[in-house]
Every structure is written in structure tokens, then in C-alpha cells.
């Protein structure tokens, strides 16, 4: 029903116009929502809002209060008059399985990556680049199907279709790629990851992020502390726009 409604909304606004993407980075402490559009010099940040979880609304990557979280999404879309919206969400937390694996081949099959921990998980992998020592590095991540289903239900409840559900690291890697632009090299990515102890957000500085996006001064003051989360949000926006 919701799918039909959103499809009709999209039909009404025109086939050529892409739906707006609300980026949502969810962490055990807070939820950050941002609305971006394509600007002349990169993504243009139109709106940004942070919601802190004080009453166990979100714990261990499990949505305990979907009504409240969906109301955050709905209100954000309503306040900023975003019609025909979709959302891209990144999840991080203990129930998300993440691992960097070094393999001898750069083109492994899925069965080669079949770890014991991935059993009963919805999982995927991506090639990062050649390892500094030997072999090739892969980023593997997975999440429980019931948790994934929770996020899908969240989309149904809020009436906003989810287009991307991924891990925060995937969004951050996407932002890294955008940050490097034409100079992006996979071996450099692996080196940067190792140097940052696989905490890629530490690579991003507020200045580098500010250079890459267009934002007005009001928002700039608001997000001073949330630059790492903003990077995730931009990564989500870029992932959503790839569709």
C-alpha cells in the first residue's frame, strides 16, 4: 500500500525527477538525519538534525521504539517539506558483524568467504584493495535478518521507502572515495585504513568535509561536533544517488 502510494507520488512529481534522499546515520547514542541535494560543487546540505536516544529507543542495533524513530523521520520530512522522499540508513553497533579479511585471491567466490559467524546472517563483501603485506583485503559485513526486517518495517511505518540499508563503514568508504575523487586508489585506501586502525572516520577532518559540501552558516554551527556523522550521511547520500 505504501509502495503504491509512494509510487503514485513519484509518478505525480514526474518520472524524470529523482526522489529526495534522507540520510539517516543511526548509532547507539543518536540518530542524525540530513537532507541533501546535488549542488554545483557537490552535495548541498539542505537540512540537518540530531536526535539523542535517552530512553533506550535504540539499543544494540535493535529498534526498541519504532514509533518514536519513525516519527523522527516523518517530522524531519514534514518540517523540511520533503515530498516524495526515500531514506538511506547506516547502522553500527554490536549486532552488526564486520571484518577485514585478507585473502590470497582478489576474485574470491562467496563460498571462500563463508565464515562461521556469517551463518544465519544477511551478508555481503567488497574488495578494498591489495594488502600492504601479501594478499588482498576484503571488507565483510552482515546483519541478522530480523534486524534488517525491523528497518524495512521502520520504512513502512514512517511511509518513507528505504533505498539503502548498510553499515556505517560502507557509507564512510563511499565518502572517502568521493573525498579522493579522481585520485582514489584502492591500495591507498588500504594503507589509510591500516594507518587509522580501520577507523576510517578519523581520516576525515571538519575542514576536508566542509570543502566537499555546500552548507549555510546556521547548519555549519549546528554540526561542528558531528562532522564524522556528517561524513557517514554524505556517504549514504552518494550511495542512494547511485541507484
Amino acid at each position: 500500500m505504501i509502495s503504491l502510494r509512494s509510487t503514485w507520488e513519484r509518478l505525480r512529481t514526474g518520472l524524470k525527477k529523482r526522489p529526495d534522499i534522507i540520510s539517516a546515520a543511526i548509532s547507539p547514542q543518536k540518530l542524525t538525519l540530513s537532507w541533501m541535494q546535488k549542488g554545483s560543487q557537490g552535495p548541498e546540505l539542505k537540512a540537518y538534525e540530531t536526535f539523542s536516544f535517552k530512553n533506550l529507543e535504540f539499543e544494540k542495533s535493535i529498534v526498541f521504539n519504532p514509533t518514536k524513530i519513525s516519527s523522527f523521520l516523518k517530522n524531519f520530512a514534514k518540517e523540511n517539506s520533503i515530498k516524495n522522499a526515500t531514506f538511506a540508513i547506516s547502522i553500527c553497533g554490536p549486532t552488526i558483524f564486520e571484518k577485514i579479511l585478507t585473502l590470497s585471491t582478489s576474485t574470491p567466490e562467496k563460498k571462500d568467504l563463508n565464515l562461521k559467524e556469517l551463518k544465519n546472517l544477511k551478508w555481503d563483501y567488497t574488495y578494498l584493495g591489495p594488502s600492504v603485506k601479501n594478499g588482498f583485503e576484503f571488507y565483510i559485513c552482515g546483519m541478522k535478518r530480523e534486524i534488517l526486517f525491523q528497518y524495512k518495517l521502520l520504512g513502512i511505518k514512517s511511509g518513507i521507502k528505504p533505498v539503502v540499508i548498510t553499515t556505517a563503514k560502507t557509507a564512510q568508504i563511499e565518502f572517502y572515495k568521493y573525498l579522493k575523487g579522481e585520485n582514489f586508489r584502492q591500495n591507498q585506501l588500504v594503507i589509510d585504513l591500516q594507518n587509522s586502525n580501520y577507523n576510517i572516520q578519523s581520516i576525515f577532518t571538519p575542514e576536508t568535509i566542509a570543502k566537499k559540501i555546500e552548507l549555510n552558516q546556521n547548519i555549519e554551527a549546528e554540526i561542528k561536533e558531528d562532522y564524522p556523522l556528517l561524513a557517514t550521511n554524505i556517504g549514504l547520500f552518494l550511495l542512494g544517488n547511485k541507484l
Partner: protein, 175 residues
Amino acid sequence: MKDINFINNQKPNKEILNWIKVSLLLIVITICTMSIITVKQLLKISAIKQEIREYTYKKENLNDALKKKNNLKKQQKKLKKQYDAINKLKSTPKKSFALLENIYKVIPQNTTLKSISITKKNINLQVSCPDEKIANWLAKQISDFPQIKNLKLASITKSNNNGFIFDIKGKINKL
């Protein structure tokens, strides 16, 4: 580098196009199904109409046949009546024959009965005998029959073989 996305999404516009395609397909299927059903129904209706036409024609024929049958029955009844009457008449011998037989019995040897005619009311006899006495006797004998009354000699004519031909006329009382 492959992007990791836990939900399989199609491009939004492609999704709409797919939705339109599926909708069109469903519409086409619905139209086809509806038309098949309608054509089937129409064929059934035409077959029923044809059947009705055949039955009406048969019914008309049947009515005619029934009328004919009734007429024939009536005619048969009439004919049977007539046939019965004829048979009845046939089975009962005519009383005139008995009268004729009696007349023939009383005619003497020298007398010849030339002709006899019996109608409902009259009786005419033509006898040939040698003289008038015998003719009178015969007339008297015959007039004694209960069926005959007023029997009289009407005329005498001389015959070729030395005798006379007598015409005797009378009335029939009741046969």
C-alpha cells in the same frame, strides 16, 4: 568496488517503469480474460437463441400436427359412426326380402311373376296368368299380408302366349 546494500533496490524510475509494465500487463491480461469470458457468454447466448428458434419451429409444427390429429380423430369418429351404421344395416336383413319371399310362395304354378317393385309406400306387381280369377285370388292372398293394404288390380293386358298380364298396385303398411 562493490557497494554493500542489504536491500535489493531497483533504480527508482526503473521501479516505476516496472510498475507501469506490470500494471499494463495486468490490464492486458484482465482485458483478454474479460473478452474471452464475454465471447464465451455471447457464443452461449447465440447457441441458446438458435435452440429456442429450433424449438419454436418444432412447436409450431407440433401445433399443426396436433390440430391435424384432432381433426383426423373427429373424422375417424364420424367415419366409425357411419361404418357402424352401415354394418348394422348390413347385418340386419331387409324386411322387403321376407315379403318378397312370402309373395313368391303364394304365386300358383301357372302364374309367373314378371316384375315387382317395392318402395317405402307403394308396391307394384306384374304377373302373367291365364285368367282374372287367379289374379284376384293372388291379389287377395297378398293383401292378407300385414305389411300390405289396399292391393287392387290396376290394369289387364293380353299377353302373347294366350294369357293376361295383370298390374296389381297397393300400399305398404309397414315393412
